[in-house]
Every structure is written in structure tokens, then in C-alpha cells.
Amino acid sequence: MASELRVNTLKDASGNNSIATSFVAGGSAKAWAKYGMDDATIDDSLNLASITDNGTGDFTNSWSSSFGTINYANLANCNIGAGNSNFNKQDFYTPLVGSVRLYTTFHNGSSDSGTGTAYDFQFVSLLAHGDLA
């Protein structure tokens, strides 16, 4: 049977390590994902309904449950894989409450200080923190 518990604070059984439930909700990641841009396949995720390939290095990430505002925090880490020395890149976002667009570029070492080259990375780790709607 489903049950609902309404409580303001959690403590361990000894009464220590107190944490407000607002920190549980506010501090939990609202979305994360691991996927490949090269094959447009989601390996695993939380709250990621779909990814849309808009072009090389350009993916829209659509949330299953939307955020309350566009003012949420995104973080991404993109990789090619082990053994590749040219792994610089930049990530840009256009957040909407229901999605965020991720742009990724490949930079060939420190000599490439320009805009880089749009690139579909093999490993993308995506994270979003903020308030759900």
C-alpha cells in the first residue's frame, strides 16, 4: 500500500545528523543522464524524457517533469574516451522549463583558442539542480 509521510526534519535513530526535508528535496539532483551524442542513445537517466539531435554537437534534452522556472543549474561533462589527448570543449545552454539545449565543441589542444569544432561526444554526463514545477 502506498503511504505518505509528512515531516520537516530527518534524524538518525540516535537523534543526530539532522537534516531538514527541504534540503532533501532542494539538494537532490532533479535530472541526470549519461548518453552518447555519437549514437544518440541514452544509457541511463533520471527525469530525461528524450534527447533530440539538432545537428553535430547540438542536442536538446527534454525533461519528463519540468522545472518551476528557467533559473536552474546545469552541468555537463563530455568525453571522447581514454587515450585521446585533444579533449577540450565548451558547453553552452539555453534553458527552458521543459528542456535545455547542449552545445559541445572540440578543441585541438591549447593552440586552438577559438570557437572549436562542433562535435558529437561519445560520453555525455548531464546534471540539473533546481526547483521542479
Binding site: 500500500m1 503511504s3 537523534g15 549519461k34 561533462n77 581514454a82 554526463s125 526547483d131
Partner: protein, 135 residues
């Protein structure tokens, strides 16, 4: 009225590993277990030492600019999200690029290059974190 729940373990009723938490806007829910960060690490790679961590069993210094943190409690699979940043406190030399990704259910891989020379570099302030499903 304020309320306090004293408990050592939280377990779902319908599914042990799944507890819903009402979102801040009160109109949707998120999953407690899946939303929790499963490991984080503050690491000095210059003189290798773990400053502080959660769910880290050990850190293997693989090579210059490369190390592998292993989990105390492993992940369910290789499919999890890993992130991190690196900085040198002495010269404010930010990492050129990070190469952080899951390699197995028991550890992950972190690599950084020096922004000035684009060569592997042992930064003294490295942070890393992982979200995903525990085993």
C-alpha cells in the same frame, strides 16, 4: 507544527529502492534515491591526498594528470554520469579540459590537462561527483 522523524534507514514501501519526494512547486515529484549524489570527492592530486569524500574507498594515482577513484558501494552498471573540475591554487591555472567518465561499476576515470601547456598536470584542487544508480 514542526515534526522530526528519527530513523536510520529509509526504504520504499512498494519498491524498496524508490521513494517519491514532492518537488518544490508542489505539482510533481522526484525520486529520492535517484536524485542523490552517489559519490563526491575533494582531492589533492599534486601531493596525492583525499581532502574529503563520500562513498570513496580509495583513489589510485594512475599517471600525471590521471587518477581513478573507486567506490565503497559500487554502482549498478557503467551507465552513470560523472563530472568534475580542477584548479591549481598556486598559479590559478585552470584545467584546459576534463576527461571524466565512468569506466566500470566500481571506479571512474579522471584526467586533466594544464591550460598553459596542454599537457597532463596534477592539480591540487580537484572535485568530482557522480549521479546514477547504486548496485
Amino acid at each position: 507544527m514542526a515534526s522530526i522523524l528519527k530513523v536510520d534507514s529509509l526504504t520504499g514501501v512498494t519498491t524498496a529502492g524508490s521513494i517519491s519526494v514532492t518537488g518544490e512547486g508542489n505539482s510533481t515529484t522526484t525520486n529520492l534515491q535517484q536524485g542523490l549524489c552517489k559519490t563526491w570527492l575533494s582531492y589533492n592530486h599534486d601531493t596525492p591526498a583525499v581532502r574529503d569524500s563520500f562513498n570513496v574507498a580509495s583513489v589510485t594515482d594512475a599517471a600525471t594528470g590521471q587518477f581513478r577513484p573507486s567506490y565503497s558501494n559500487n554502482m549498478a552498471s557503467v551507465n552513470y554520469a560523472a563530472y568534475g573540475t580542477a584548479q591549481n591554487s598556486g598559479t590559478v591555472r585552470l584545467a584546459t579540459g576534463s576527461d571524466i567518465y565512468s569506466t566500470s561499476a566500481s571506479d571512474y576515470f579522471v584526467r586533466y590537462n594544464n591550460s598553459g601547456t596542454d599537457t597532463a598536470y596534477d592539480y591540487d584542487k580537484v572535485t568530482a561527483a557522480v549521479n546514477g544508480d547504486l548496485a
